[in-house]
């Protein structure tokens, strides 16, 4: 069965870039969100078993989204994909329960490696 995958980023270019970097032949049902609030709703609607999450976003940013996911105990695996590559940001998202951190622009190989490492692929 197709896995519901959600891509959350305020940039439509970044969302497209992420979508086409997903491994070929991976059976997914893809949805998109433009900010954290939309992502939270999509997860509740069962559209985000796996979430690729940007950090710098309006309305609700990635840090806030992770905190909300934890608070509401939502069922999703979060991989942060961000341009904020400061060690502190990395540590903060891992502390908030992210599976891993991929720096932008995300390469196909890196995404595949992370998905494989967590037994998702």
């Amino acid at each position: 069965m197709a896995i519901p995958v959600l891509i959350c980023d305020d940039s439509s270019f970044a969302r497209k870039q992420m979508a086409r970097s997903l491994p070929e032949g991976w059976d997914v049902e893809l949805s998109f969100a433009c900010n954290g609030e939309e992502a939270i709703q999509a997860i509740k609607d069962g559209k985000g078993e796996i979430l690729f999450l940007d950090l710098t976003m309006p309305v609700l940013d990635g840090f806030g989204t992770l905190a909300q996911i934890r608070k509401e105990d939502l069922n999703t695996m979060v991989i942060v994909v961000s341009g904020d590559i400061q060690p502190e940001a990395h540590a903060e998202v891992m502390g908030l329960g992210a599976l891993d951190f991929i720096k932008k622009p995300a390469s196909k190989d890196k995404i595949k490696e992370v998905l494989t490492r967590f037994g998702i692929l």
Binding site: D10, S11, S12, F13, A14, K16, Q17, R20, L55, T56, M57, P58, S82, G83, D84, I85, Q86, P87, E88, A89, K103, K104, P105
Partner: protein, 206 residues
Amino acid sequence: MNQTVTVSITEDQRDCYQEISNVAMGQAADLLARLLDVKVILPIPVVNLIEVNELRMALSGIENTESVSGVCQGFIGNGISGEALLIFNDTSFADISSLLKYGGITDSSLELELLMDVANILIGACLRGVGEQLDVGFSQGHPVVLGQHVNLTDLIKAKNYRWTKTLAIEINYKIEGYDINCDLLLLFTEDAIGVLNEKVNYLLED
């Protein structure tokens, strides 16, 4: 012959410039964070096609009542040229001086040194980041001081550009827990916009 060439960017292109800037500013911020051992608060970059005489409006991160100092640095590569401006709120220097173990001491010449150091790091890293994504190698000119301890209007009044329109990318960096505020502005010339748009279209279609 038509003398007025209309330069414009579409919403998709603007979004793409914003995302490219987002990645580039993150790389630059990481270097600054490591240098000063702080956390840099990243903004959402602001991308606008503006008239050069509206430059003041593009510097939204700094108030006109504040005393500021700034440098500019030209860049060029693959038919794309422009100028980077880095403007600091003068209150930033005491904190930068402490963080760099100068004991918070500031005088005009030390401030100038700090300004140049930070400008080299931020401008260099940002241009490298943009260049990597667009497959352009930028060479940078020497940094030039625009002014010290002046207000923003006077600082940018000193500039006299030969172009009328510019693609302006504004990145306002703040540092968590410190009174450090600076605005990095990348200005691309009117002639560069067409070349940039082509590069961006390629990324959008890909």
